[in-house]
């Protein structure tokens, strides 16, 4: 896993969120999985009794507010993109059809050519 610029024992939440935004936009599943592991580490460190870490994480969370807003916007855009892309895949697979001409274009190579 790539090194995330960290502070203390934690990877910096701010950088983690910023990287997640970029990985999400690139649809980089591998990197997103690595970042998810980092989130698990952060969650683990929230265990009761580690007040120092909790305070530091709370501070990092405040600092990362802007980056989280960016992540939310990128997430929204990516979700919309994926909806469109999965719809395209459905169209290609012939499982979805709307509008006569729209449906035809996916099967044009299989059509007859008028010589029958």
């Amino acid at each position: 896993m790539e090194e995330l610029g960290g502070r203390g024992v934690h990877p910096a939440l701010k950088e983690l969120v910023a990287e997640a935004s970029q990985a999400l936009a690139r649809l980089d599943a591998d990197r997103l999985e690595e970042l998810a592991l980092s989130c698990q580490i952060l969650n683990r460190d929230l265990a009761p009794g580690e007040a120092g870490n909790r305070a530091e994480l709370a501070c990092q969370a405040r600092e990362a507010t802007g980056d989280m807003a960016v992540f939310a916007r990128v997430l929204e855009a990516t979700r919309a993109n994926l909806n469109v892309m999965s719809r395209l895949r459905e169209l290609r697979a012939g499982r979805l059809e709307y509008g006569g001409s729209q449906g035809r274009m996916w099967t044009r190579m299989e059509n007859g050519h008028g010589d029958n």
């Binding site: 990128v74 993109n81 050519h113 008028g114």
Partner: protein
């Protein structure tokens, strides 16, 4: 004979249909590099079969026209994403310029806005030096010099920010004519499409309209609604009508509070456009939010430093033995008649940065001594030097240097977020563009394959035609001796 004639007719139609399909392929190949051109495919239609004596006979197929290979859901999503990417790109460019202003220029010999942090440190250091030797004229001169450098850099930064704001205002204003030109063009294309192709894809006309919409999406945030007869309605993201079928509403501008505001049908839509997207959204966000925020922080810094330093200097005795008019920490008020201010005393926070300057010209007026002390006293200089580590209510409970440091850090954070967002939004545009190109662009390999298929089909129809001709000749020569029989 009737059957042979039917077969002739059928083959003739097949030849025509294949020829039409080949023309469509040729048109695709010719426009492979034309920007905005969408690949077309032949639309085949089966002819009505003939019923003879209870039997059904096929009558072949015809090409009814060309259909563009486009997906409106995909192109609309691409337009939406383009709006987000353009807005973040325009804003990022503006933020980078702002950040550059506060970046120290190590190669420059003159002091600039990037040196404000070290200017603050230098000012308080000059008070420390004066504290050590309150009678020294060069130390007094050094205080005024440090104050002038700080005031000059802060007011210079405010001037530069105001200039950047004006430049953004002009950029934003310039977008209006482009928007109006595009909405007019879309309205005209709507009319043409509705009159020539109300029930089907309008091919090149639709390509032109889509190109205009793509360009419009780079400029402002829009919503699209398809109307009857292949028409289109375009609104801003908050619903103000820009194009309704054949009619476009022109956007106008006017000056409000010194900046350009944007109007549609008499309604001021500036704030809606700022959050809507496109270049204009980015320009307006930087002009109306980012720069005012930076200016406000700078005003607060200028106000805090000026009033704190003035307040302390006015609560002491200068080198000529003249007391200020202020009250010191012990509650003693000076006997002076004129305030001893180093900086021009600001009356309010707003505008403090641009107006920041040094009012004092005589270094002897620096009040290093406390009230009732001799001119060699340094107690007030000590108090002014301690400002370096004193927090101030005017600076949100921070020291001046910490306030400035946090300001630069916040600005850096904002730029970093804008950079992340721009990278992400641009990557999304690229993904969608790739999908759209894969769907709608002309693929020369596919065209070559289609052309080969059509040619073979054409050749096959020609062969059948020749065979029919032979059969027809044989039929005509039945009963007569000929080479055919």
């Amino acid at each position: 004979m009737g059957t042979i004639n039917s077969a002739f007719s059928l083959m003739s139609q097949a030849l025509d249909a294949d020829q039409s399909a080949l023309n469509i392929v040729a048109n695709n190949v010719a426009n492979a590099s034309t920007p905005g051109y969408t690949e077309e495919t032949a639309s085949w239609q089966e002819n009505q079969p003939l019923e003879i004596g209870g039997s059904s006979y096929g009558t072949g197929a015809t090409v009814t026209g060309a259909t563009s290979v486009r997906d409106k859901v995909l192109t609309e999503r691409l337009d939406q994403q383009q709006q987000l990417a353009s807005a973040s790109s325009a804003r990022l460019t503006a933020l980078n310029s702002i950040q550059a202003l506060f970046t120290p220029d190590t190669g420059s010999t003159s002091s600039t806005a990037g040196d404000i942090g070290s200017d603050i440190t230098s000012l308080f250091s000059s008070f420390s030096s004066l504290e050590t030797n309150p009678s020294n004229n060069s130390d007094r001169q050094a205080v005024l010099s440090a104050a002038k450098t700080l005031a000059g850099d802060i007011s210079g930064a405010a001037d530069s920010l105001n200039s950047q704001r004006s430049a953004l205002d002009q950029e934003a204003s310039g977008v209006t004519s482009q928007v109006n030109s595009l909405t007019s063009s879309i309205a005209q294309l709507n009319l043409q499409i509705q009159s020539t192709s109300p029930d089907a894809d309008a091919g090149t006309l639709e390509d032109q309209r889509q190109q205009d919409i793509s360009q419009l999406s780079q400029l402002i945030g829009i919503n699209q609604v398809t109307t009857e007869n292949n028409g289109l309605e375009i609104t801003t993201t908050t619903g103000q009508l820009l194009v309704s079928n054949g009619t476009s509403t022109q956007m106008t501008t006017g000056t409000v509070n010194g900046v350009t505001d944007f109007f549609l049908g008499g309604t001021d839509i500036t704030s809606q456009l700022a959050s809507g997207g496109g270049e204009l959204g980015g320009y307006l966000t930087a002009r109306d939010q980012d720069i005012p925020n930076v200016l406000q922080s700078l005003d607060q810094l200028a106000y805090g430093v000026s009033t704190e330093v003035n307040s302390l200097n006015n609560a002491g005795t200068d080198y000529d033995g003249v007391e200020g008019t202020g009250t010191n920490s012990a509650g003693v008020t000076g006997t002076g008649t004129t305030p001893l201010y180093i900086f021009n005393e600001p009356t309010e926070v707003a505008g403090s940065a641009a107006a920041m300057s040094v009012a004092m010209t005589d270094p002897n007026q620096i009040a290093a001594a406390g009230f009732g002390q001799g001119t060699g006293d340094n107690s007030n200089a000590t108090a002014m030097a301690s400002l370096a580590s004193s927090t101030s209510v005017s600076l949100n409970g921070q020291t001046a240097i910490n306030y400035y440091s946090n300001f630069v850090s916040t600005l850096g954070s904002t730029v970093s977020q804008a950079q992340t967002e721009n990278t992400a939004q641009t990557a999304s545009v690229t993904q969608l563009q790739t999908q759209n190109d894969a769907l709608s662009s002309v693929n020369l390999n596919d065209e070559a394959s289609a052309m080969t298929t059509m040619e073979r089909s054409y050749q096959a129809a020609s062969q059948v035609f020749a065979m029919l001709n032979t059969i027809m000749a044989s039929a005509l020569n039945l009963g007569e001796q000929s080479t055919v029989s």
